[in-house]
Every structure is written in C-alpha cells, then in structure tokens.
Symmetry: C2
Subunit: 214 residues, 2 copies
C-alpha cells in the first residue's frame, strides 16, 4: 500500500541522475581516461542531459571527485565482506586479501583496473582537488589492511626493517603497476604474474614456504 507496493521489496528507489553519472564515470573514465571522456559522452552513457549534469556537479572535476569517493566505498564494501575476512589468523586474512585480488585479475582489462589510479595520473599536477580525492581513495582502502598486518606480525613474531603501513601501500603500488602492465599488453596474464611475486614476497616475509602447497 506504500509507495513501493507495485515493485519488489528490494531497491525501492530508482537511481538518480547523480548515481547514473557516477556509474558512467567509473566505467568510461577507466576505459578512456578522465580528459578523454567528455561531459556529453558521460551524459549519453548515463542517459541524462547536460542540465542534469551541472545541476548535480558544479564541474566535470567534481564528478571525478564524487566518483573517486564512490570507488573507495565500493572497494571497502567488496573486500570488507569477502570470504577471506572470516579467517581467524590475521596472516590468513592478509594472504587471503592478496589471493582475492589476484583472482580479480581476470577478464577484460578495463573491468579490473583502478579508477583512482587512472585519474591521478591525469590530475596530480593540474587538478589538486581531484588528486586529493584519488589519494583518499587509494589510502582509504590501503589503511584498512594495516591492523591485520600489525596483528599478523605480532602473532608470528615478525619484525624486519619495514612498517605495516608501507607494506599495505606496497600492495596497492604493485597492483597499480600490474594494471599498467596489463594495459600495455591488453592482457591480464602479466598482472597475475606480478601478483604472484607479491604473494611470494609476503610469504617469505612471514617465514612461510615461498610457494603455496595444498
């Protein structure tokens, strides 16, 4: 009898023009880059008009900022609710995270690359507000790993001349680099190889056998 009676109980609200534009930006900017994606194209992709665009966003840069923020929330939801998070040993969660990320490196290149990593290359010297949003997106995700790395070090008695934060950021760096290699070949195999090296590194840091045996 309420306003959603005629539809299913899930997803009561239809996506607004704002939501559709953010979705279009996440998709198209990852394919073509921020500067090569025009406002008209984003509107076409989202199925909205230019008036709607500038009603919701003061400028194209502001859509980029909103998309970077949405991207961070998307990532933290995806990984925060993934199966590997159920492991009791924090080291298993850390390795589970890396293996989960490696498993994502499949299929077409534009679908597994990082929006923030793509946009920061085009903005870091020219659009400080967008650069900052990309920074927040990457760091905001990386820092979710620090507590587990810390706990894994404590549990397994690992010290070494490195910080947990630097390792969490190294994870993101290796993956960002893997995306670039994959883009250069238009093939994801090279990215998976790089992820394997990263996993091997972490196993060695924690005195496990370099190769996983099952």
């Amino acid at each position: 009898m309420n306003r959603a009676s005629a539809s299913t109980t899930i997803s009561p609200k239809p996506p607004t023009a704002r939501d559709k534009l953010i979705g279009a930006a996440v998709k198209t900017v990852r394919e073509k880059g921020f500067n090569a994606t025009s406002v008209d194209e984003l509107c076409r992709e989202a199925g909205v008009t230019k008036g709607a665009f500038f009603h919701h966003f003061p400028s194209k840069t502001d859509l980029g900022i909103a998309a970077a923020d949405a991207w961070k929330r998307h990532a933290n939801e995806l990984f925060g609710s993934a199966p590997f998070m159920a492991h009791e040993d924090p080291l298993d969660r850390v390795l589970g995270y890396l293996e989960f990320r490696r498993a994502l490196l499949d299929g077409p290149v534009p679908e597994f690359t990082c929006l923030a990593g793509t946009m920061v290359q085009e903005s870091y010297e020219t659009l400080p507000a967008l650069r900052e949003a990309c920074h927040d997106s990457i760091w905001g995700h990386a820092l979710t790993l620090v507590d587990d790395i810390d706990a894994a070090r404590a549990r397994h008695g690992i010290t070494g001349g490195w910080t947990s934060e630097s390792l969490a950021l190294h994870f993101q760096g290796v993956l960002q680099g893997a995306f670039i290699l994959a883009k250069a070949t238009n093939d994801s195999a090279v990215a998976r190889d790089s992820a394997d090296h990263l996993i091997r590194y972490v196993r060695m840091l924690f005195n496990l056998t370099p190769e996983k045996k099952e």
Copy 2:
C-alpha cells in the same frame, strides 16, 4: 673539415624541430598527461610552430609514439652505462640496477616518472598504435634485465616457481605503481618505500639477508 667544423666537437648538430618537440612531449606529457597536453602547447614549449609540428609528425599520436621510442632509447642508454653494470656477479648487477632506480626516486615527482606508463593509461583502449609503442618502450627496457637475472640464478643455484622474464616485468610494475603512489601524494617517499620492499624481495629470492648490511 667536415660539416661540424665550425662548432665544438661535442654536439655538432643543433637540435631540429623534431628533437625539440620530442623533448617537449617527454617533459609536458609526464606532467599533465597526453590528452591534456595540446599541440599548441607542445609547439610553444619546443619553440616551434604548428607547421613544423605537422611537417614532422602526421598527427599528435605520432609524436607520442616517437616520444615513447626516444624514451626507451634514453632509458637503455642511462642504465646500460651506469656504474652498477661493471659488477662481475650478475646478481650484483641486478641489485645494483634496483638500487640505482631507487636512488633516482628523488626530487620532484614529474622528473622521475615514466612517460610510457603515463601514456598507456590514456591510450590502451583508444589509440592502439600508441599503446603498442608504450608496450615496446616498457618491454624493451625490461627485457634487458632478463639475461642478468638468468645468470644470477645459475650462479647462485636459484630455481623457484617463477621465470626471469616475469621478475624483470615485476620490477617495472612495482616502479610504475610507485610512480602512481608518488603522484597521489605529490611526494616521493612512498615510492622509495615500495622500492625498498622490492629490493628486500629480490634479496630473499636469492637467499641473502633481507636487509643490506655494510
């Protein structure tokens, strides 16, 4: 008595408009990206006119391709003649390469980043010829390391479930990722931290102590 008689013995030929445009592209594209750099701006930076531009390059994309090629030759000359190449043990050359690259991660961000890695993000789905040139630039440099990695493995009896080529590409990937992290912060410290993790990884692969002691 030859055509360079009137000038010093060094650098006999003045740079052509073509050379100056490639130099301008290497500098400006690394700062702002390929799409955000206009032809007019490249001409201004190089001190040449638009007529000269399109006399030497059929299109802006072709300048990008030429710049990627020049970048590869520049890199191979820089690293091929660096001091670490004199080490007798190939493992010392491999580690010397990484330490040399780590040392380069200093100063302003736009000066140590990679032209090919920057351009490939903007071209991989839209400009196949430029993507291919970026691929050649990165791979053409990475593959110069494979023989030394192979020799180092033979000398030190290292096998492991990885190929020398994948490790050489992993080096490039980690560095490309480090550039992105540095761009996101506008600071190079995070890139050096990531390079340290990479060096630690290689030392562990070859059964050295994780941290260097002198």
